[in-house]
Symmetry: C2
Subunit: 149 residues, 2 copies
């Protein structure tokens, strides 16, 4: 973690930026937070140790991390974006509409078929999103837990 934060700091400096305490707190908070976190959730968690940090800084810091390639913006159609760290390899998502649980999956075959499709259309892909919505095992089986997020 320390290494990671130092590396990001160096990249910010190299890009003409400056270090800042607030931003460091947000970045560390982001990597400690669970995946698929909303700005609002992250802001609240950051406020526990640093109440002075404005939500705007959280917004700005996540945009920055995204630009640097460390964060990925997600949109599960809830009205507010989520972010996940981009350290783990590419994956797609199963999103439970009942309890909000998000299951990550990676399917090499699907990815390969996507490449075939784009090639067939002369399309040069830069990114994709595959989300499957529905009900997770628990919620599908009737004993639906509370919506946890």
């Amino acid at each position: 973690m320390k290494r990671l934060l130092e590396r990001i700091d160096r990249e910010i400096l190299a890009a003409g930026g400056k270090r800042s305490r607030s931003r460091a707190v947000v970045i560390e908070g982001f990597f400690r937070a669970r995946e698929h976190v909303t700005i609002e959730e992250l802001t609240r968690s950051v406020h526990e140790s640093a109440p002075g940090i404005g939500a705007v800084t959280v917004y700005r810091t996540l945009k920055l991390l995204e630009r640097l390639g460390y964060a990925k913006e997600l949109d599960f159609g809830e009205g507010a974006r989520r972010y996940e760290s981009n350290l783990s390899p590419h994956h797609d998502h199963l999103v439970c509409r009942q309890c909000g649980t998000v299951i990550e999956f990676e399917d090499r075959e699907i990815e390969d078929l996507q490449d075939l499709v784009t090639r067939r259309h002369g399309f040069r892909p830069t990114a994709h999103r595959l989300e499957i919505y529905g009900f997770c095992r628990k919620c599908a089986s009737g004993n639906s837990p509370e919506r946890s997020r």
Copy 2:
């Protein structure tokens, strides 16, 4: 088209709704519009023949069509939703980030693999979205046309 509009009218009546001129104009406009239309585009096109119709009615009518199963809400991450008619069979989208062109595709294998994935996780799927972003043939080859939408 006439048949379709009558059928929708009947379904609205059956559901306790009433007919309305404005709504009929919006619905017809929607089915005549090109696919993947935004509310703003549809409102503008509707205004050409019926300037009095408020955008709110367009919003409401598309929500209604969605509830009845005739329209599908899309979100290509542009900040405004798009809608497409739900008459054609399921398909997914290639979206060009340069010119906005949207190519529809349907890949039985990908769909089947998605089913496998969900089953593997005990997940009961109700919907999915697969969008591949990048550059269409024209834009990838350099002679990038203007952004058309």
